[in-house]
Subunit: 203 residues, 2 copies
């Protein structure tokens, strides 16, 4: 019940941050503005988010953790661990959720938001680790952490590559990326980890 209120203010801060950022542009939003819009003190903002960008990003990536966890769990026990995890992560990046479509554009435009967005991938590692041990209870917890951390790292590589190739968009470039599709890129970066996932799963 106390927890209710905390999640409420958290959500209030997130949505206020995103709204203001979309209205005025990310550069023209101070944390005082966000705090005021959410009806809390500026100091309280930093009890919930440890940087100015974090709230904005959180508005977009809030339930990432639970979504991957669910996506992994949803995969039939027949498919390999690698396929389950990889497909789940790819799925995460296929549908952009129910957010204002210009939000993503704003993130890719602002360097600070880009950086924060990439860092936020870490969020999914814990849930993935849990989902893995749930699938393979016999697996060492430390190994599960390593695998999920590797998945997160691979996803970060994909994200960075995509963001960079997106920033060099117009006309020519070194065409580093064969495909402009983020989900495809994510799948590509996750593929090399499949042997590790499967090997760990089969003993």
């Amino acid at each position: 019940m106390r927890e209710r209120k905390k999640q409420a203010t958290r959500e209030a801060l997130r949505t206020a941050a995103l709204r203001l950022a979309l209205e005025r542009g990310p550069e023209n939003v101070r944390v005082d503005d966000i705090a005021e819009a959410a009806g809390v003190s500026p100091r309280t903002y930093n009890n919930y988010f440890s940087s100015r960008e974090e709230a904005i990003i959180a508005a977009v990536t809030a339930e990432r953790g639970s979504r991957v966890a669910a996506a992994v769990a949803a995969r039939s026990a027949e498919v390999s661990l690698a396929d389950a995890v990889i497909d789940a992560v790819v799925e995460l990046y296929t549908d952009s959720g129910d957010h204002p479509p210009d939000a993503l554009l704003m993130i890719t435009t602002s360097p600070a938001l880009r950086a924060c967005y990439v860092d936020t991938v870490t969020t999914i590692e814990g849930p993935i680790a849990e989902a893995i041990v749930e699938r393979r209870p016999s697996m060492d917890h430390l190994t599960a952490k390593v695998l999920s951390a590797s998945v997160g790292a691979a996803a970060k590589v994909a994200l960075r590559q995509w963001l960079q190739s997106a920033s060099v968009t117009p006309s020519m470039s070194g065409f580093v990326v064969p495909s402009g599709s983020l989900p495809d890129l994510v799948r590509t970066t996750l593929m090399p980890l499949a042997p590790a996932l499967d090997a760990a799963a089969t003993h």
Copy 2:
């Protein structure tokens, strides 16, 4: 040649930071102190390091990148890619370099330094990626990045585990870690990635 001077001040800042931190304790060192000790303006400090802890950590981890790269390259072409990379990274953490022995203790003691120390693992990822493509020129660069990022992620897991188990040192604990040896722990966390490394190496 101009580059000489830059590296000189960089080194001056690093060593000054480490010395002061060891003398007074990390909490009692302001960046102004470090800058003054190195004979530059406080503003210049932030042209070289983007946080107060970074310089201290850099004093200990300065040539990590070149060291792993060399260690990987030193492995005979006969041994598998996985063995080469894993052994190289483990070697990185076996000898602590020629630093004051109390430096590591200070790092493990201060939370801020711990965090920064873990983050610094990222430093080795670029060099490892290059070392990998040098070994397997036919390998896709993106795959190399993914693998090196995974190696970095695994090393971070090891480091976090080690630091945490070290902070709960005295008497009983949930004995999360079987071995108190960091190199052994690193090897343990890297093992699960071996299949991925080898699979990528053999196309």
